[in-house]
Symmetry: C2
Subunit: 487 residues, 2 copies
């Protein structure tokens, strides 16, 4: 417990749910990485020349270039003077004609990006999201069931908040999970009901395990209301097969739990033939009238995929089968925060409605998009190989997403040293890695893992030109670490 | 109660705090205004040709032009290609040189606006905020005590969330208030402790009334932890005198409550000689060592003032005297949402560090800024006169902010007609106004008012060229309404 204090507000009387919340992605390791960066900037001597943040999927912080068309449109809507006839000629030297047209169209619907929009998001953009979903899935989507949000996280938090009626309400979450879920449930004072992904089966998900998790929670009197699926997985990178997804929907239907589908990595798919992405919306609709009225909320974001516009904070969620009065309440709570930032909404518009064949920007867009995709794909395989080459480490491939989540079997001496330092063994390992190489990863304990195992999550986002150096630094560090602590 | 439902999630088992929350600014009247706008767009015949939203301070939705320098910088940071040497000549035809320099400087510190920033906000921008506060107040400010946020609302919600330990915690709020406060406290399941502003004293605030409010809550066993002051007032527009602010600080000190200072309208000051703006930070610091360690959180935003960039969602709060462990918890909870949108952060940078005398953009900036100010100032006086000319209406002047909050004394017949329609009398009046003129205001019951009185809030933001028509429509409607219901 913290020391006594004379402050009115202190750690002992603040909101206890916030105090209990944990969010490792920006926790101890990330904070240490920041101070190392400051030390380097101040000229401190370190065994490395730069800090590399692999703790978070933040592509543009690691030099991924934004998609030109997106940024041209954003640049134009921020300065509408450029769209005036008298500037057309000069502007045509800097911007593609279809970017100019898109900017004009968006401003026709929005007015100014400096004005609050509809609290649910600009209607025109929600219509484009609905069209995108219809083309993706082959089933109708309704703009009035779509809410634009500041990144997917805001939508997830809002959805969990709606469901969190009391401290006895449970939400099923995968282990390992993206810690947004446990952190948000802690703040909401509801229960996380863990189900385990099977590392030995490429982080597979079985309905038997879902049922075990649900039944155990029920035995403890937990009232489980929803199931979170992250597909493709974060931190685990697996991509669900359609048959498996049908079983999951049946499980939800049978046990009366709402399905929350976190599908922000839907375009980060690295084994498209044997592991393509299917949306839960599409699979649900393919299952026929028995599932009419099934309650599904799915989330998407402009932060991931090949877009990678994290800092612009854009996303959306689609409500399927949600009670009309609940939708009205979601609108009300959204309106208290007025509206999601309009540039983020525009990024959603660009993501769901990019240049098409024949548009002036199509070739460039296509080349940029595929270039990012191929590069992510190859880096994921190189890093996977690297991890599997490390003594005592095993790593499933990334079928999707932006991460690998290797398991490391640490020597007893390392585990004792960690205990002596008051750290989890995997955190101890990641801290040593950070101090030796400047590479910041997140230890598995931040995501949850089978007791007694040690993992860490790393993105494969370091820039291609530095990737070999990055991988060899990992190898060198790991070899030295194992030598130091080998039993 | 809503009808029975077979849904898993429905209005009877959702989060009850959300169901209870009310937010009138975007409530019944705003929703009706939206559907009227849709009807007009579909060619419906109405007694008016456009819907005018005076329910919310959203200047750019009513044609207020953004400040050119701000938008030039935003446009450049979104498309860094423009900053390359080879484009310098063409770009110089469209952008001011100091806008180019500012964009380069910001990107030097930020990298890409598409990358997540530090969860507390970009360090360089927080340093500029600290300098701005130091210049404004004449006392030091610390960048590590400043958090950038998506508009002020996000900062207010976060601060209240930190304090809301349990349902017995009370937060003092003014009546009338901006309903963000009651809505957020409802969601947080803590208590709003109302204190009343004195309409007969130009919405004055007395510490006697603060003490009455605090003591009554204490009698009811409420544990009051904080006091919210909105200065300049929303919806009431009053601006506090320095002596009054010192009394308020003494009240907080004596009763051990944290002061939450909502100062988003600090540049919307229309009687600068007799009612200048003083920040609570400055007044506190002027009161000497007795008040060292006093706990103050103050909020600012890019949405109001002469900036009016609501849709860009930028703001900040400054922590003064807040416990170090609590600050760490605020950082942690901020990190769960990753970061405020970077363009909004950049708008904060521009607001706190605008062009200076001698800069290429200064003259234009100054002209635009003063033009907006003078126009708001004159419109506030015209609308105040209009309201005071209405039968049975009285209206205090707007010393600050963007609103007037007149009281209307409605005939008994009108009150009966309202009751028959199941509406509050002031809501009944505002709905009639909306249907007759297309002007959307918010009834006083949405902000809170002395029982038995009727008020409404209107912005004075309708564009100057339409303002006379706007005012005469109000007069005509009011005269007809009074004739219809006169006793």
């Amino acid at each position: 417990m913290p020391a006594q204090t004379t402050k009115i507000l202190h750690a002992n009387n603040m909101n206890p749910q916030i105090r209990r919340a944990e969010y490792a992605v920006r926790g101890e390791l990330a904070l240490r990485a920041e101070s190392l960066r400051d030390e380097l900037a101040k000229g401190a001597q370190k065994p490395f020349s730069r800090v590399v943040n692999c703790n978070i999927g933040n592509p543009q912080a690691l030099n991924q270039k934004p998609i030109t068309f997106f940024r041209q449109v954003a640049s134009l809507v921020e300065y509408p003077e450029l769209l005036k006839e008298e500037n057309a000629e000069v502007v045509s030297k800097l911007y593609a004609p279809d970017a100019v047209e898109r900017a004009k169209l968006l401003l026709k619907h929005i007015g100014s990006v400096g004005a609050y929009s509809h609290s649910q998001g600009v209607g025109h953009i929600r219509e484009n999201v609905a069209k995108f979903i219809e083309e993706r899935d082959g089933y109708p989507a309704d703009p009035s069931s779509i809410f634009l949000t500041q990144g997917a996280s805001a939508g997830v938090q809002l959805s969990l908040q709606m469901i969190a009626e009391n401290p006895n309400v449970g939400i099923m979450i995968p282990i390992p999970q993206y810690p947004l879920y446990t952190a948000t449930l802690s703040v909401l004072h509801s229960k996380a009901v863990p189900y385990y992904l099977d590392e030995s089966q490429a982080w597979g998900l079985t309905t038997a395990e879902l049922q075990r998790s649900y039944d155990e929670a029920a035995k403890d009197g937990v009232d489980t209301r929803a199931l979170v699926i992250i597909n493709p997985g974060n931190p685990t990178g697996q991509c669900l097969e359609e048959a498996n997804m049908r079983e999951i929907i049946e499980f939800c239907h049978k046990n009366r739990v709402i399905l929350l589908a976190d599908e922000v990595y839907q375009t980060n798919i690295y084994h498209p033939k044997d592991r393509p992405f299917h949306s839960f919306k599409k699979v649900l609709k393919s299952m026929g009238p028995k599932y009419d009225g099934f309650e599904l909320i799915s989330f998407h974001s402009v932060s991931k995929g090949m877009v990678g516009e994290c800092g612009q904070r854009g996303g959306y969620f689609e409500l399927e089968g949600i009670d009309k009065e609940v939708v009205e309440q979601i609108y009300k709570i959204s309106s208290i925060s007025l509206c999601p930032n309009v540039l983020g909404q525009i990024m959603v518009d660009l993501m769901v409605n990019p240049p098409k064949k024949g548009d002036a920007s199509f070739e460039k867009y296509n080349a940029e998009y595929n270039g990012i995709y191929e590069s992510l794909n190859s880096r994921s395989r190189i890093l996977e190989k690297t991890f599997n080459s490390l003594e005592g480490a095993t790593c499933n491939p990334a079928e999707g997403a932006l991460y690998l989540f290797p398991q490391i079997r640490l020597p007893k001496k390392a585990i004792e040293a960690a205990k002596a330092a008051g750290k989890e063994p995997d955190t101890f390992y990641c801290l040593a890695l950070l101090e030796a190489t400047g590479v910041c990863m997140v230890s598995g304990s931040g995501f949850g893992q089978v007791d007694g195992t040690a993992h860490f999550r790393s993105t494969f986002l370091p820039p291609p030109e530095l990737f070999d150096e990055f991988c060899s630094n990992l190898k060198d560090f790991h070899a030295k670490f194992m030598d130091k602590y080998r039993d």
